[in-house]
């Protein structure tokens, strides 16, 4: 770090100084919470949902014995009890988490790749190509996605795959917008002009120059969006899409639990709590990474 802030920056208008100082004080406290703790929690959740059911003593989430219906928590063999048809609730939570997370990861991955590419290409090419792509995206955005989701549910039948398609209608345009904005910003920088002048062709440009500069923002956006996608998946379950029962997802567990809400709220509360905790962790992770990356 070569220069010293000049007089005026140091004296009155010192956003960098003031804020950095405040952030440093808080950051020393928040820094550890910033990325490491949320990352650890996220990994824990993923391990629980994906790995533990395979290696641990977890009964299957479907095909339960009706005689075991609605057992309370801490019953022998079912530490969270069972659902109204006898499936182990803990197992449903774990497998449900797996389904919800799978869907969210897939949607965000497709979003980053497809949407990121689309937006970046649009921004880079500029002109009428940019305008056309953005118009098309506008159509998708203006389209009430719920109509589409319900239509898919009714036309093609609900399934995890179809849910992913429906949710991509939300994520791809969103990523395209972000990617386009980020690419526009990067495009103006001098190293880009230099690369262009030295004859770098587009794919190389994209991979070598653009991608590394917009990836942090896209990744942060992806992480912050996982929570949103998981919540949306739940919403879709309410209108008939989502993972079809009896296979559990947190979304469809909440939607189904609505009918027994007054009698036994835990069928709503348990998946809700799981969803909440997971979303919080992903949000904290996204926030922490954004703070870390933007202060560089």
């Amino acid at each position: 770090m070569a220069d010293l802030p000049s007089d005026l920056v140091v004296a009155g208008v010192a956003p960098s100084l003031d804020e950095t100082a405040a952030a440093k004080v808080a950051g020393r406290w928040r820094g550890s919470l910033g990325v490491t703790i949320p990352a650890a929690l996220v990994l824990l959740i993923i391990a629980l949902c994906f790995i533990w059911p395979i290696i641990g003593p977890v009964p299957p989430p479907t095909g339960g014995n009706i005689l075991n219906a609605s057992l309370p928590a801490f019953s022998p063999g079912h530490f969270l009890g069972t659902d109204p048809v006898g499936n182990d609730e803990w197992s449903r939570i774990l497998y449900g988490g797996r389904a919800s997370l799978e869907i969210a990861f897939a949607v965000q991955a497709i979003g980053i790749i497809l949407g990121g590419l689309l937006g970046s290409v649009a921004a880079y090419l500029g002109g009428w190509r940019d305008a056309t792509i953005m118009r098309l995206l506008d159509v998708v955005i203006a389209f009430p996605a719920f109509v589409l989701a319900v239509a898919i549910a009714q036309g093609l039948g609900p399934s995890e795959l179809h849910t992913i398609w429906a949710l991509c209608f939300f994520s791809v345009p969103a990523f395209a917008r972000i990617s386009r904005a980020a690419t526009l910003r990067v495009r103006e920088q001098t190293f880009m002009t230099a690369a262009r002048l030295s004859g770098t062709r587009f794919p190389r440009m994209l991979l070598g120059h653009i991608a590394p500069n917009i990836l942090p923002q896209l990744i942060t956006f992806a992480l912050l969006g996982i929570g949103i996608v998981m919540i949306l998946e739940g919403a879709l379950s309410f209108v008939g899409l989502g993972v079809p029962p009896p296979a559990p997802s947190w979304g469809n567990m909440i939607a189904q639990g609505q009918s027994t809400l007054s009698a036994d709220p835990r069928y709503v509360l348990l998946p809700s709590a799981a969803l909440f905790i997971t979303v919080v962790c992903f949000n904290l992770l996204g926030d922490g990474l954004r703070a870390r990356w933007s202060s560089q």
Partner: protein, 345 residues
């Protein structure tokens, strides 16, 4: 409900009136240009939904007659409803009708789409407006309290709670609220809706839980946004130093100077939100049994009631377009730098 392409014409008319006062005819031209490019978007959206709905198995006739109907009966009804005509013809008819103000009639109930919309839209609007009101009314003071002492206790608490609030799914909140307030405490109704005509107090009562369900997420989002903007103003802007140099108390610097400038950004975001929010109300209306546009939409899809669906999709799309445009334009209208321009000196 006057069904001239009112949503399209009204903004133009209003803007034209202000054109005299607007320093920037660039602004007017910008608006017109944007509205023009919105037309293909509207066409695209309505056409797309037409395509989607027609590709679904079954049609209105089948839904109306039920599973027991014979193919002959269905076919007869289809002719009666005009469903036997070619696809493009039907779209063109609809388009033509809409542009001249006739949105058609529901295939299931025969009611005019216009009157259906007229009944349902205000309900949803009331819900959404209520949610916005709650969220904005609380977001501003919370953001101010946070920005007053960054990293202080109020700030930390606000950040923690807003993070939590953002992470709650609206429908989860809805169900929890119903459980606590309706089932356990029995102070608020769980489902239903009372029109304002029949008692404003009751009307509000039925809307509280749904509005809070939607509003909490908004509240947290706006609080964080406003707080960040306020801090940026307070720490980075020269006019803040001037205000302090005058001896103005810090709270007043925050509210009279920074807040003014930050509100512009917030209003822009609120306008943008309006578009996306309409879709989100679908689930909430479903849970609380609110007879709004989302509820209507779900029913119409079930009934394959294409005119109703098209009408709703059209209105949604127009609102989204106008809201996005408003977000872009509001900033320039509110900012005195652009509103008053530079007179000769």
């Amino acid at each position: 409900m006057s069904c001239t392409p009112a949503p399209l014409r009204a903004p133009l008319a209003a803007r034209a009136v202000r054109a005299g006062r607007l320093a920037g005819s660039p602004t007017l031209r910008f608006i017109i240009r944007r509205l023009l490019t919105a037309i293909p978007v509207l066409l695209g959206v309505t056409f797309l939904s037409f395509v989607v709905m027609n590709s679904l198995p079954g049609d209105a006739a089948q839904e109306l007659l039920g599973a027991q109907a014979t193919p002959a009966e269905i076919h007869q009804l289809e002719i009666k409803l005009g469903l036997d005509r070619p696809f493009l013809t039907r779209y063109w008819d609809w388009l033509h009708g809409t542009l001249t103000g006739h949105l058609g009639h529901s295939l299931s109930s025969g009611q005019s789409v216009g009157s259906i919309l007229g009944a349902d839209l205000p309900v949803t609007f009331e819900l959404v407006a209520f949610a916005f009101l709650i969220s904005l009314a609380l977001a501003v003071p919370l953001a101010l309290l946070s920005a007053r002492k960054p990293n202080g206790i109020a700030d930390r608490l606000t950040m923690v709670f807003s993070m939590a609030g953002l992470s709650v799914a609206p429908y989860v909140l809805a169900l929890v609220l119903v459980y606590v307030f309706a089932v356990k405490l029995n102070v608020l109704p769980a489902i239903g809706w009372v029109p304002p005509g029949q008692g404003f107090g009751q009307n509000i009562r039925y809307l509280i839980l749904p509005a809070v369900s939607i509003g909490l997420g908004l509240l947290c989002f706006y609080t964080r946004l406003l707080r960040a903007d306020l801090l940026e103003q307070m720490q980075g802007e020269d006019y803040v130093v001037t205000a302090r140099a005058k001896g103005v108390r810090p709270w007043r610097v925050l509210t009279r100077h920074a807040l003014r400038n930050s509100l512009f950004g917030l209003i822009t975001v609120v306008a943008l939100n309006l578009g996306t929010l309409l879709g989100a109300t679908v689930v909430i209306e479903d849970i609380f049994g609110i007879p709004g546009i989302g509820h209507e939409l779900l029913q119409a899809i079930d009934n394959r009631d294409i005119p109703v669906i098209e009408g709703i999709v059209f209105v949604f799309a127009v609102i989204v377009v106008v809201a996005n445009l408003a977000a872009d334009v509001l900033y320039s209208i509110l900012d005195p730098r652009i509103r008053y321009g530079r007179p000769a000196e």
